[in-house]
């Protein structure tokens, strides 16, 4: 085992020196470095290390970007500022519509008093998709019983730690525009 390691670590030097020399001076390595400071061998070591690192990056970077591609697409999609929902202005009072804002499911609610509210539908607790309950006029999460206010998105009861993100709603003839509040 010991001899295996020595020969293996000496391998790159085989080009400049004969094998015999190396076997006769198995401990020459630390001596050289002490006596000469910056040695030729030291330089070669650094150069080889540098080349290996360069190859590592040249191979690794495309592979990383390749694997990461859908993540980048999803992030780009998540960054949308505005969504236009065609014909959503015809949503009856007291009902809700689920739509996608970027990558997130989101809720558009038309309240009985003719107010419009749009909220992120991802529960702030552990990420389940919440739903609008028209009887209680509340937003509930089935996973752990979280409850939110349907007008403000405020977390009322249950485990959710934060309110739901609220969007800005613009109703016009033929469509509803939902946008991130700046």
């Amino acid at each position: 085992m010991a001899s295996f390691r020595r020969e293996a670590s000496n391998a790159p030097r085989g080009a400049n020196r004969t094998m015999n020399e190396e076997i006769n001076q198995p401990h020459s390595e630390p001596l050289d470095e002490e006596n000469e400071g910056f040695t030729r061998r030291g330089f070669v070591k650094v150069a080889i290390g540098g080349v290996c690192a360069a190859y590592g990056v040249a191979v690794g970077y495309p592979i990383y970007r390749y694997l990461n591609s859908p993540v980048e697409k999803a992030e780009a999609a998540a960054a949308v500022k505005e969504v236009n929902l065609k014909d959503a202005d015809k949503l009856p009072k007291g009902t809700a519509l689920v739509f996608k804002f970027g990558t997130h499911p989101s809720l558009l609610i038309h309240h009985d008093d003719d107010t419009w509210v749009a909220l992120d539908a991802v529960c702030t607790h552990l990420g389940c998709t919440v739903q609008y309950n028209p009887q209680q006029k509340q937003i509930v999460c089935a996973c752990h019983g979280g409850v939110y206010d349907a007008k403000t998105g405020e977390n009322i009861s249950g485990p959710p730690p934060k309110p739901l993100t609220k969007y800005v709603v613009n109703v016009q003839a033929g469509s509803v525009t939902v946008s991130r509040s700046a």
Binding site: E7, G14, I63, R65, Y66, L67, S69
Partner: protein, 359 residues
Amino acid sequence: MKIPAKLTDFMVDRLGLDEIFAFAKKKTVPVHKHTFWYYWGGITLFAFIIQVLTGVLLLIYYRPGPDAYESVRQITYDIHFGWLIRSTHNWAANIFLLSAFIHMFSVYFMKAYRQPREFGWWSGVLLLIVGLVFGFSGYLLPMDDLSYFATKIGLEIPNSIPVIGPTIANLFRGGVEVTEYTVQRFFALHAVILPLVFLPLLMFHLYLVQKHGMAVPEAEEEVPVEKRKTMPFFPNFMAKDLAMWLITLNVIAILAALFPWQLGPQADALKPAPAGIHPEWYFMAQFQIMKVMGNVVRGFAGEALGMTLFTLGILLWFIVPLFDMNKQSGRRAKIATYFGLLALGVVLIFTIWGYAAVA
């Protein structure tokens, strides 16, 4: 970066590394003017390793079945560096087969198939055949027009086997036409079945190479043993092997970057075959032989005749260690050499002829 002695001892004891290292160190590589040819097996191995790695990466986005073309289109044009991974996979496949051919012919002419290396030869020929099936099955997977028609033509080969041929071809196709069923089963073949066949064969082949070491060519046999030069395989020859691998990696990278693999229009059974369609170079000789045979003997019989001759040739190629056994260069050794030259000549001539015919 020194591994602590205790840890190495632990590993050595538990894993029996001593024996493995002793086995690895045993081999020496003969040094002579033909030493160059000893690198080609390693180059082939390296190309295969690249195939495995890029293959797994492609698997991440590839969807066999009806979606096949669209998923390859996404890989090639939408996914970051997808074109590079796909091109590398394609180019490495070509390098793999090219270096395998060079390796095989150099082994043949060095007569390295002789005792005790018969199994090395047999496993090697089988590996090449599996490698060719890899190439064939992978070609269909993008489902563009070229791959569609190439597969249609290729399946005419099993189809021309008398009596059972059509059944075999239908089983490959999963129908009487090349469809999404065909892609699905070619994918299973390409990514699961063939690797399962290839890997044990490869291990066996590498084990035998390590066990018997490199053969020396006949010319070198005449040099008295004391005068022959050698170098230890580990680590000296391996370092050179690795240098070759680095060169190979660079060549593949340059080819993949400068000549990225293209994707043709989607396969459409109702459209005519694209003009000048021909198989990859490694099937060109067979393609041309079948074509010529089909012209000499009209109809189905011609293709069957071509197939039979071809199979016979491969069979002879396979059993050559049983024919040319002696170390002394006798009559049989000469016949084997002529047969090798004939085979090489036929392959080269028909390949060139094939390209000339489609050009």
